[in-house]
Structure formats: C-alpha cells, structure tokens
C-alpha cells in the first residue's frame, strides 16, 4: 500500500507539531480530570475514548471518503476477539496486543474493502449490514475457539507498580484509552491534511473527476477501508480490556448502528464530530437510565425509556441539526464571528463543513 507509506512520511509536517501540542494539552487535562472523578466515571470516560477511536475511523470512511458502513461493529469484534484469543493463556504486553488486534482487523478490513470498492450507496450499506449480522454468528458456531454465547474473558490491564498498589484499575484503563484515542486522533488528523486525505475527499465528491485527476479510485477506497478497520480493531481491542468479556451479544447490529448514528449526530467528516458523537453515544443512555430508575416508573416503561429517548434524540437531531453537533457549532461560530465583525455581509455564514481538523 504505497499510499499508506506516503501517508506516514507526510506525518512529519508542521501541522503535526500543532496537533501534537493540542493532544498533549488534552492528555494532561484529561488525566487531571480522571484523577478527580470516581471509579465509575473513569470507566465511563474510558468508554468515550474507546468510541472516539472507532467513530473517528468510521467518520474517515463514511464522512470523508463517502463509503457508508453499517458493519463497523463487526470489525470491532475482530479486534476484540483477537485480543481475547491472544490473551488466552498468555500474558503479552498491552502494546503488542493492541497492534496485533489492529493488524487482524486491518486484514479483515482489507479483504472486505476490496469487495466493497465496487459497491455504492445502499448496496454497500446492505453488504456491510450483512457483515454485522453474519460475523458474530461465526463466534457462536465455532464455540470451541471463540467461547460461544458465553464468550471469552479478558484480564484487565494491570497498572504499573510505580503508581501505587491501590491505584484504581478503572483509572488506568481510562488513561490507556485516552492515550490511544489521542494518538489515533493526531495520526488521523495528519492523514486527513495530507494528499491521501485530499484524495479521500476527492473520491467522495466526484469519482469521475478524481479518476481524471490521476487518483486510483478503487485503491483509495480500499486504503480508507483499511485505515478505518484498523481504528475499529484498536477500539475493539480496548473494548475487550474494558469490558473484561468478549461475547457475540456485545457486537450485534446495534453496535454498528450506534457507531454510524454517533458520527451523523456528532458531525459527518470531521474528527471533532466523532468526539461529539461518542460523548452523546455514551452519556445519553447513561443519563436516561439514571433518570428512568429515579422516576419510579412501572418496569415495562422504565426499562424502555432510555431506548425511547435515544431513538427520539436521533429523530429530533436529524430534523433540528442536520449537520450534526459539529456543524451546528461551526454555524453558530460563523454567525457570531460575522456579527462581531460588524456583519458587513448579510448572508448566512458560509461554513466549510468538511474541514477535518476543525481549524
């Protein structure tokens, strides 16, 4: 994959230092935050970070490259099962497990991406949806390998001893997830600003024009699929550590659909959109289940209230903020700026929705 190699070389650009600086500041702030909150909140924070990795990769594929995937949950499953299998009976270093899981998911993504490169719109949606439905069943079928419905257990990552014996494992998990998420965001941010990122967008905007400009459309699409699957695999691997259990039920169609809804709600085509989407994805159900249980409702109502609200949030968000949270914020910002600058022009602020770095 020469394009990827070229992408790596392009990472050494001036924007890299800016992104790195931002990421470092974010890392320190998040570590401080994490040390101030309880174990349960650390656990939630880790979940957000894990979903950020998956949704950022998906947003690169769907938002930036224009390939709709309804099956990214299955690619997360590949990462999670890789991790669980690697850790069965072995004690491998975390970083190695993460990289191997990433490689496993990239491989599956490459194979599927080659098949997907010929498919467009709803046909791609259908194929990826079938992947989301089909893949978890392999785990049930070959239960001697994958542990069947009960799944495989995963030991939590052990905090290094210099942090002290009573360092909460949830906090360590959150730190790992945050670090990996930030590294992923920096790498993706640079990739998006490189010529590879531009070719992703060119293919999305106009395939024929991109081909005329000398871009290999099919290869670009496969590369996007591989990068995005790598992110999904990484997220899946962390997810396995985080939940301690890898079972087919955790990787059903619902997960894939949650991921896609997160990027649309957050904002298509931008990394900040992925972050917003992950926050919504984790906190809305958390908040609503808390609310439902405090309301003393009959169980048939209380049990389903979070789902009802989540669905309603999706519907209303699509009607009210069609460009997602990120798009809505940028529009507000542009309007505010126009007003502040004396509103010389009377037009609505023209915003580049697709600027990936949000700059």
């Amino acid at each position: 994959m020469p394009a990827v190699v070229k992408g790596w070389r392009l990472l050494l650009t001036p924007t890299l230092s800016r992104h790195l600086g931002l990421a470092l500041v974010a890392f320190i702030l998040l570590l401080l935050l994490s040390s101030q909150i309880g174990a349960y909140d650390d656990y939630t924070l880790a979940a957000v970070a894990i979903f950020v990795i998956a949704t950022a990769g998906l947003n690169l594929l769907t938002g930036v490259n224009g390939q709709l995937s309804l099956g990214h949950g299955a690619l997360m499953a590949v990462g999670a099962y890789s991790t669980s299998l690697l850790l069965r009976g072995h004690d491998l270093p975390l970083i190695l497990v993460l990289l191997l899981s990433l490689a496993g998911a990239s491989l599956v993504g490459a194979v599927f991406g080659v098949a997907a490169a010929r498919l467009r719109g709803p046909y791609l949606a259908g194929a990826t949806l079938a992947l989301a439905v089909g893949l978890p069943q392999i785990a049930t079928r070959y239960s001697h390998v994958f542990g069947g419905e009960e799944g495989l257990t995963v030991p939590p990552p052990a905090a290094p001893s210099w942090l002290g014996a009573d360092f909460p494992p949830e906090r360590w998990m959150a730190w790992i997830a945050i670090a990996v998420a930030l590294v992923t965001l920096v790498l993706l941010g640079n990739l998006l600003q490189s010529s590879v990122g531009r070719s992703f967008k060119a293919v999305r905007d106009h395939e024929a024009a991109a081909a005329l400009a000398g871009i290999n459309v099919a290869r670009t699409q496969v590369v996007a699929f591989v990068v995005s699957s790598a992110c999904a695999g990484l997220a899946g691997s962390l997810f396995a550590y985080w939940s301690g259990l890898t079972a087919p039920a955790g990787f059903g169609v619902a997960l894939s659909l949650q991921l896609i809804s997160a990027i649309v709600i957050g904002g298509l085509g931008s990394l900040s959109g992925a972050v917003w989407g992950s926050i919504v994805l984790v906190f809305v159900p958390n908040f609503t289940s808390g609310m439902a249980s405090s309301l003393n409702l009959p169980s048939s109502v209380g049990n389903n209230l979070p789902l009802l609200i989540y669905g309603a949030v999706l519907v209303v968000a699509m009607l009210v903020v069609p460009y997602g949270i990120d798009g809505g914020l940028r529009r507000l910002l542009a309007l505010a700026r126009a007003r502040w600058a004396g509103a010389a022009t009377n037009h609505k602020g023209v915003v580049d929705w697709d600027d990936p770095a949000g700059s």
């Binding site: 769907t62 467009r120 169609v253 896609i260 049990n303 999706l314 968000a317």
Partner: protein
C-alpha cells in the same frame, strides 16, 4: 430427497415474506431514495395493534384489516411528518432518522402492550396438510401466506401498470421535477407510495408473527433478510425484490437445513457478497441502467 422437499417448501413460505418486506423497501426506495430501516419495526407495531384488537374481542379478520390500515396510515404519517423535512439534508440523515424511529417504536411497543413474548394466532391450521395418508410439510397457513402475498403483489402490479394513479406514482418516483411540470402532485404520490409500502410491510409482519412469536424486535431479522433480498435483486426493481426475497428464503432454508441454523446469517452474507461481486447493483440491474 424428502429433506430437500421440506426445506424447499419452508423456503418458499419464508421467502414470500422476505419478498414482501423487500418489495416494501424497494417501493420506498424508488419513491424517495430512502432505505427505510424502520420498516420492520413499523410492521411489528401494527401487528401488536392487531393483537390488541384481538384481545378486545375483535374477530381475526377485522384485526387483520385493522393492522393493514394502520400500516397504511403509519407509512403516510412517517413520510409526511418525518421524512419530508429531511428531503434536502445529506442522504445519511434520513438513514439515521429511520434508525431512530426503529428504536422509538421498539421501545414504545413494550410500554404500550407489555414486554413479554406473546403468541399470535393464525387464521388457519399450522399443521401440515394431509393428502390421503401422506402428511405434506406445508400447512393451510403456509398456503394462506403464499396466496395473500401473491394477491397483494398482483394488486400492486395492476395499480402501477394499469391505472392513471399508478402511472402518476411511477412518474413521481422516477423524476419528481418533470412530474411537477406535468401537473402531478408529487408530494401526495410519495406519501401514497410510503403508505402502500408500509401496508405491504404490515402484511409481512402479520404473516410471520405466528411462527416467530411476537416481541418488540421480532421483525429485525425479517428486515435484514428483506433488505438483503432487495439488494440481491436490485433496489430499483420490484420484480428483483420478489426474486431476491424468494432467493433469500430458499438459501436460508437450505443453509439452515444442511449446515445448521446458526450459519444462516453467515450464509446470507456469503451469498450477498458473491452476487454483488458479479453484479454490484443486484441481479436485475439492467433495468436500472438508464439511458438518459
């Protein structure tokens, strides 16, 4: 051999239901370029309404008709109230909107009708028909399923091919702008298209309920297999939907019968990918390749 016959008959019955679901999806796709992921949930909801009517003492056929009518109305309302406003938004938005609707309906059903799994009565015997001393693995209800799907499809074919209304609906779906220039009230046609499609979906929900039992997510699988069937046949082609849906029925039945039911969905995945590799826009794609 006997096994093969059993599986074929089973595939035919289930396939006809997937075909109905696929047809509903294709009708909506052609009218508004939307894949309605809430189609299954809408059918689930109307089937619950039928059960609700049955429990309040309505005769079976009345409940049946109530469900179909509610499906019709629900489809129209969803198009008019939810889908129309996002017409000009990015195309993924309406996908998320239908997913949201799916969640809302699947949460609402247990709130209104209770969360436990329910059985749904069937109009006819579900025991295999007896031919002399031979018991065929095909029940009266299977026959009813097949006939009612066929009748509904024939009626739709008549409507679309033989009536002015059908011609208007087809024109509105093919090219809304030109249709408006020809004085066609496109908005109404699209609403009607959604309404008819949901009626077809509601029928599928009623027909599969006795064998799957009734619970909020019972139509999810039917939707996925219907969608797979629609893709297999080509989303722009109603005959393709029927062929694709039936193929899904047969394929799942054979895969389940010969390789084990836990491989059904993997089988569906493999078949779908294999077909799409050869024909990326479905089996009947030639119709969709318009010469403009």
């Amino acid at each position: 051999m006997q096994r093969f016959v059993v599986l074929t008959l089973n595939g035919l019955t289930e396939g006809s239901i997937y075909a109905a679901m696929a047809l509903a999806l294709v009708m909506i796709w052609r009218a508004t370029r939307v894949v309605n992921f809430a189609q299954g949930a809408m059918a689930m909801f109307t089937t619950y309404l039928a059960l609700f009517s049955l429990e309040r003492g309505a005769p079976y056929w009345l409940a049946f008709v109530i469900a179909l009518l509610c499906g019709f109305v629900l489809g129209a309302v969803v198009e008019r109230v939810l889908v129309r406003p996002v017409e000009s938004a990015p195309p993924l938005n309406v996908v998320i909107l239908t997913l949201g609707l799916l969640l809302v309906l699947e949460a609402l059903a247990p709130m209104l009708f209770g969360g436990q799994i329910r059985s749904f009565p069937s109009a006819f015997s579900i025991v295999g028909i007896r031919l002399g001393s031979l018991q065929v693995p095909f029940s009266s209800f299977d026959l009813f399923t097949l006939v009612s799907v066929l009748v509904l499809m024939a009626l739709l074919l008549l409507l679309f091919q033989r009536t002015d209304l059908g011609l208007r609906m087809r024109a509105a779906a093919f090219n809304a702008e030109v249709s408006r220039l020809l004085g066609i009230r496109v908005g109404r046609m699209l609403t009607l298209g959604w309404a008819l499609a949901s009626l077809v979906g509601a029928l599928a929900g009623l027909l599969i309920a006795p064998s799957l039992l009734l619970y909020p997510t019972y139509m999810d699988q039917v939707l996925v297999f219907g969608f797979t069937g629609a893709i297999l046949g080509g989303l722009d082609s109603p005959p393709g939907a029927v062929i694709g849906g039936l193929s899904m029925g047969f394929a799942l039945s054979y895969v389940g019968g010969y390789f084990g039911s836990d491989l059904e969905t993997v089988g569906a995945l493999v078949i779908l990918i294999a077909v799409l590799m050869v024909r990326p826009r479905g089996l009947l794609a030639w119709r969709a390749q318009r010469v403009v």
